[in-house]
Amino acid sequence: MNTSAAELLRIEGVTKAYPGVVANSDVSFTIREGEVHALLGENGAGKSTLVKMIYGLVKPDSGAMRLRGVAYAPAEPRAARAAGVAMVFQHFSLFEALNVAENVALGMENPPPMRELAARIRAVSEEYGLPLDPARQVGDLSAGERQRVEIIRCLLQSPKLLIMDEPTSVLTPQEVEILFQTLRQLKAEGTSILYISHKLEEIRALCDEATVLRRGKVVATCTPRDRTAREMAEMMVGATLTPPERRATQKGAVALGVSDLSVASPIPFGTSLKGVSFTVAKGEVLGIAGVAGNGQDELLLALSGELTSAPDKVRIDSRPVGDLGPVERRRAGLVAAPEERLGHAAAPNMSLTENALLSGAVRQGLVRRGFIDWAATERFATSIIRAFDVRTPGPQVAARALSGGNLQKFVVGRELLQEPSVIVINQPTWGVDAAAAAAIRQAILDRAAAGAAVVVISQDLDELLEIADSFAALNAGQLTRPRPVEGLTIDEIGLMMGGAHGMEVAHHAG
């Protein structure tokens, strides 16, 4: 890295406060021409707010930005794009019902006529090894392909600075490698990249410089190549991390059996399950990986009982339950925690006590002869709050008032405390800070040690490798055969997840 390269973007003392929280406080750093600069930090550290300011979606309260020495204060994304700043969003900013070319046109200032645009999309996607058909509807594309739409939308505007917000969270390892080749090619052509992630090995492989944010402040800068992932993690968290403790457990009899389960997806543009089969024994944790949108939500619904099937397709302790709804399955010992916290796992406007009742009524005996035992319900809610260290004034608080991490601890704790024999969790630590995530993983392992069969569906491979005994992947609604985690390589995992979905390596260099 040539450290004498000219400055592209300089951020000086930028501060942004929202009611009750300072998102960014006196943040300063510099991105040079042709540099890949990492922005590191936990959820809620202020990374997203910072890049939104650079992209003109949010105005800073104070501080200044300079782009190539000129004062830069974009009033809206249009102005940022005109100045040469482009952004690939974490949650894709795509329109499912529109086709690829229309999606690209929406992100451009003066798009050419559709036919010409389609030709240019083809040309650029070929050049960077990201093949894409401009006429396809985005709703039918895989997550990796959708990201290509976003990247190509940016590349068509020849940006000077490309912002990427958590770009690899939806990709298979092979797709990540191809993305990195594209990014290195861009860097060689002189484009600077601001790369936001909390995946430290990726940052070590790709980035030249890193700025670490914690609670809205810059706490460190470093050259990622010269640091270990552990050092950077501790800079991010500001504390020493202890990985979850795993006890060797004896596997018992099969507690959850699923055979040849096929259900149609109730979700628009969803993925139907096709012939899913697996078994989980008592004390076993089965990790199910997969890129988002490959049937994870549907699998959770089919296991929790929200989607029913023929009776013998799903069995709890050898008892057929496929045709039973969620309440009956809870009674049979299966509890489930879906990914969406607000609206699916918890009713946002109801108190924690009421939310505790909603899923705990059956197994905790909180309803007698049709009447609610409020005292017992509140005791149950309080016990969850205490056991899982949920930071809240009390069980009377509405679910929506809790932060994401705290609510996640509550909804996961609510299920784990019901002494279930089978646990199904989708994305247990999505959007949760490192300390809370570690606590949740530990609680899951403790339950498994106590004899529960656990299915963890997650897109975080590191998480699955940390807690799972066996590993399977969902790909287009089909589940691979579960394999023991020990001895699995990251390449094998990538292939189980569907490989690179027809991507190819960039074949142009200059």
Binding site: A23, S93, L106
Partner: protein
């Protein structure tokens, strides 16, 4: 002649009968494409009917009457826009309230205008074309609004399909968060769409009170706004199918009158019911999420937009 019904006359009159619902449906289609569900079509139509009627009577000009009708509908829709886009009120409740409010207010405004004849509009002079047998009666004997209503379908279709404006409008209705992230003004675009919908509904209402009836009576729209809403769903948000739907539903109402006159054996109540039965059927299909996707409803239809941090 079939059972005392002249098909030429039937087609000619169904084209006229469908104008109000077609105008209102095209307007509502644009509103819903932008992701807003405005159930106040009936209220906006009747406000257009009374405002258009008053303007025409007071100025003596039917053309100004239509302008007045469009303004009346648009002003009422502005109330809906403020409620739902600025104050973030629930769209379904606001739309229903708008209908009730429009019905009441129009009745109040129209108190002095019952029994008055408005200045009349003349058919477009096509000269010899109008004298062609059958075709002349069907296509070249109408007032300007029959042709304008068809042109509005062509216009809305072309704008939605071929222009950047149309693309942005559809984008806002599909995913308002993504549109916001790309820097589009979601609320502003929606308010403008709502105003367009109001003006079109107002025009449809004015057509009722100035040409179709033509006089002012309380509740003159008699459910036309609800049929317009049904047409949008029935048409699966496609302008051409809205034209088809309007002619179908307009045709049913004309046929029902003709059958009564011809004293046919079918009870007319079945025919009067049929537009609503079709609507219920379509809504049932709509209400399952799978059906909704199959009908390609705008994904953000009826959802309010909050700009997140």
């Amino acid at each position: 002649m079939f059972g005392g019904i002249d098909p030429t006359l039937l087609i000619a009159s169904l084209m006229v009968a469908s104008v109000p619902i077609l105008l209102a449906a095209v307007g509502e289609l644009v509103v819903e494409k932008a992701g807003v569900l405005n159930l106040g079509v009936e209220g906006m139509m009747i406000m257009g009917a009374i405002c258009g009627f008053i303007t025409a009577v007071e100025t003596g000009s039917p053309a100004l009457g239509f302008v007045g009708g469009a303004v009346g509908g648009a002003v009422l829709s502005l109330l809906f826009a403020v409620l739902t886009q600025v104050l973030q009120a629930n769209q379904v409740a606001s739309g229903l309230a708008l209908t009730l409010f429009g019905l009441g207010l129009s009745s109040l405004l129209g108190q002095g205008y019952v029994g008055i004849k408005p200045p009349l509009s003349k058919p477009v002079p096509f000269g010899p074309l109008a004298d062609i047998p059958v075709l002349g009666r069907i296509f070249f004997s109408h007032d300007a609004f029959v042709y304008m209503s068809v042109l509005s379908v062509v216009g809305v279709w072309a704008v939605l399909k071929y222009t950047r404006l149309g693309l942005i409008l559809r984008a806002v209705g599909e995913n308002h968060d993504a549109a916001h992230a790309l820097g589009y003004k979601v609320r502003r675009i929606r308010v403008l769409a709502i105003l367009f919908g109001g003006a079109m509904a107002g025009l449809g209402g004015a057509y009722l009170s100035l040409i179709r009836v033509p006089q002012w009576v309380d509740g003159i729209t008699a459910g036309a706004g609800w049929i317009a809403l049904a047409i949008v769903v029935f048409a699966a948000w496609q302008p051409w199918r809205a034209l088809l739907g309007a002619w179908l539903f307009g045709g049913i109402s004309v046929l029902q009158l003709n059958l009564q006159a011809a004293q046919a054996g079918i009870p007319v109540e079945y025919l009067s019911m049929s537009p609503y039965l079709i609507t219920i059927l379509v809504l049932v299909i709509m209400s399952s999420r799978r059906g909704r996707a199959a009908l390609s409803a705008p994904a953000c239809l009826g959802q309010n937009f909050h700009a997140a941090r």
